[in-house]
Amino acid sequence: MEKAQLLRYIAKRALIYVITMLVAFSVLFFFLRLIPGDPVSRFVRDIEVRYSYRIENTQEIIDAYKERFGLNGDLLTQYISYMRRVFLEFDFGPSFLNFPTPAQNLIWRRLPWSIGFLGVATLMAWVIGIAAGTLVGWKRGTKLDSALFSLALCMSQIPYYLVALLLVLVFAYVLGTFPPRWAFSPTVTPGLNLEFIASVLKHATLPALSLILVQVPSWVISTRALTISILGEDYLLYAQAKGVKKVRLLNRYVLRNILLPQLTGLAMSLGFVMNGFFLIEWIFSYPGIGTLLVQAIPVLDYNTIQGIALISIFTVLSANLIIDVLYPLVDPRIRTGG
């Protein structure tokens, strides 16, 4: 398939994703604005309480803040000005949490933590899950298969935030082997020294584990079902009849045909993961965008919530795009325009 076709295909997919992002982002915008509760007056009152002095002309100040946050005028004008500011000037606007700093700065500072632990956990879970699933599928019908299958079936049911709770309970409080919260111990100076990195890894194990412990079993189940169906395919029976050795059979016949559907599976599962990792970060008070979100909500900090939501939508869609691009390279049927 010539270069031109591939590029046109990628452009088409990218366009679909941009539109989906805009639609999702706008739906989010209106939903948030429709929620009753006036964040600005609440914000002004907070200032009074925090710095404990009475503000006389509260109404003017509220209007000034509304102006600053772009919250005056009817919903539509707000929407247009907001979209222009976000997508043209890449500025999400000020945040309520700590006022003058724009929302995106808050997010950029915390994003690496989330991406780090989330990305690593999801990919590790995918790789382990596929390998284990293929083996369990290969050994289908044996005792090992039914044991692992029922275990995986149960494990995949437990919600990840429950796993997080139980992990904290067991490893942090009872055994005390892992720290229950934060990203690194306060006694360590952040920098590229070994000690800091070790502390970061130690702190990240429990949050990552709570994701992995739930995702690996669900990948095992879906891969096992896929392996069993592939093992029933004619080309597998024929390959076995040809006397192809087990190892070669596994990786050139079974695994190659598993990767394709599981790649799309990975893209789809990201949507689900994005929905859930906020809670894990909150339970471990891990300094990622999840905790930031949980703090932003009670204050109804529109800009920060929208910012974090946009990041998560963007990550899911770009993952889908990457997999769409990978697909033709992996699947000859599409590559040769069959």
Partner: protein, 337 residues
């Protein structure tokens, strides 16, 4: 010549085959290319559409049934365009033109008993005034087709064999009493021993209901056994038409000749003597330059002209037409005399 029962005029149907997932520019393949045929109104006939897979015979069937629209050309049932029939009074058209599908295993809704197919037809076409009368009609039609109602009615589809299911379709046709039936390879999925019972019943319906049939098959044996007239299709184009017995006995077009002597004869004494060379045609060749005889890449008697022009369908003998330049001189000399 008054209006025929069914007339297809220069039907063409293109299918776009871009690459997977919208890749590749829009190439299109002509599944049906300029096909015309007529089914006469007075004498009920069985016309066989014969061709290998990919010859467009099923596409023609679906166009006639109104399930698919042609890219160009017209389909006239009793002089009126089928699409107009379906828009204006679909019920009469469905009443007059019926179908027997190929796969007996997918035409019964697994959720219901098989009786539903028959009683639904009676109800929708208002063939009986009361449910009692409907039941009697169904039982009587089943007996007429040599089926025992006590064994079949009340059963679920998975409890019936392929043969029984297809014969129930014939009972449905007997109930509806259409003027024309399109049978799309109805026996290809049932065993040889049950086929002839189905084929004999279908022929019996022709006389009993004054009903014409367009019988679609890739099996020349069956076409020879059941049909009066035959049209041979190759990659969407008409290559030969004529009265079945004479086409099979003395095939004119090289493609038909290839088909006839490729049939294995059930007699070990009369085995194939020569071995035939078959070049497979790939998609690319099919799409390549269209202005040529569709069989030219495989034809043993190919001539230069075959690769430049499309041979028109010419009447070479009485009632025998073929689209092949081999017979061009014959026609020239005939015209001269």
């Amino acid at each position: 010549m008054e209006t025929p029962l069914l007339e297809l005029r220069n039907i063409t149907k293109d299918f776009a085959i871009g690459g997977g997932l919208g890749l590749g520019e829009k190439k299109s393949i002509k599944a049906v290319d300029d096909v015309s045929l007529t089914v006469s109104r007075e004498k009920p006939t069985i016309l066989a559409l014969v061709g290998e897979s990919g010859s467009g015979k099923t596409t023609i069937a679906r166009i006639t049934l109104g399930l698919l629209g042609p890219t160009s050309g017209e389909i006239l049932y009793e002089g009126r365009d089928v699409r107009n029939w379906i828009k204006k009074d679909k019920k009469t058209y469905r009443r007059n033109v019926q179908v027997i599908f190929q796969d007996p295993y997918s035409i019964y809704n697994p959720f219901y008993r098989v009786d539903r197919v028959l009683f639904k037809a009676v109800k929708k076409f208002g063939l009986a005034s009361s449910s009692k009368e409907a039941r009697d009609m169904v039982i009587e039609s089943m007996r007429a087709m040599g089926l025992r109602p006590e064994d079949l009615l009340g059963r679920y589809p998975h409890q019936l064999s392929g043969g029984e299911r297809q014969r129930l379709m014939l009972v449905r046709i007997l109930l509806i009493k259409p003027k024309l039936v399109i049978a799309d390879e109805p026996v290809s999925m049932i065993d040889v021993s049950l086929r002839s019972i189905f084929l004999n019943n279908l022929q019996d319906l022709r006389s009993r209901l004054e009903m014409s049939t367009i019988y679609i098959t890739h099996d020349l044996n069956i076409a020879h056994y059941i049909s009066d007239e035959m049209m041979v299709l190759c990659y969407g184009r008409m290559v030969e038409t004529g009265e079945t017995k004479s086409v099979v006995k003395d095939p004119l077009h090289p493609y038909t000749q290839g088909l006839v002597n490729a049939i294995p004869t059930p007699n070990p004494r009369k085995r194939w003597k020569d071995t035939i060379e078959i070049e497979e045609v790939t998609f690319k060749e099919l799409l390549a330059q269209r202005q040529r005889c569709i069989y030219s890449h495989r034809c043993p008697h190919v001539m230069p002209i075959c690769k430049e022009k499309i041979p028109p369908l010419m009447e070479v003998k009485s009632g025998r037409k073929t689209a092949c330049f081999l017979y061009a001189e014959v026609l020239e000399t005939a015209k001269l005399e």
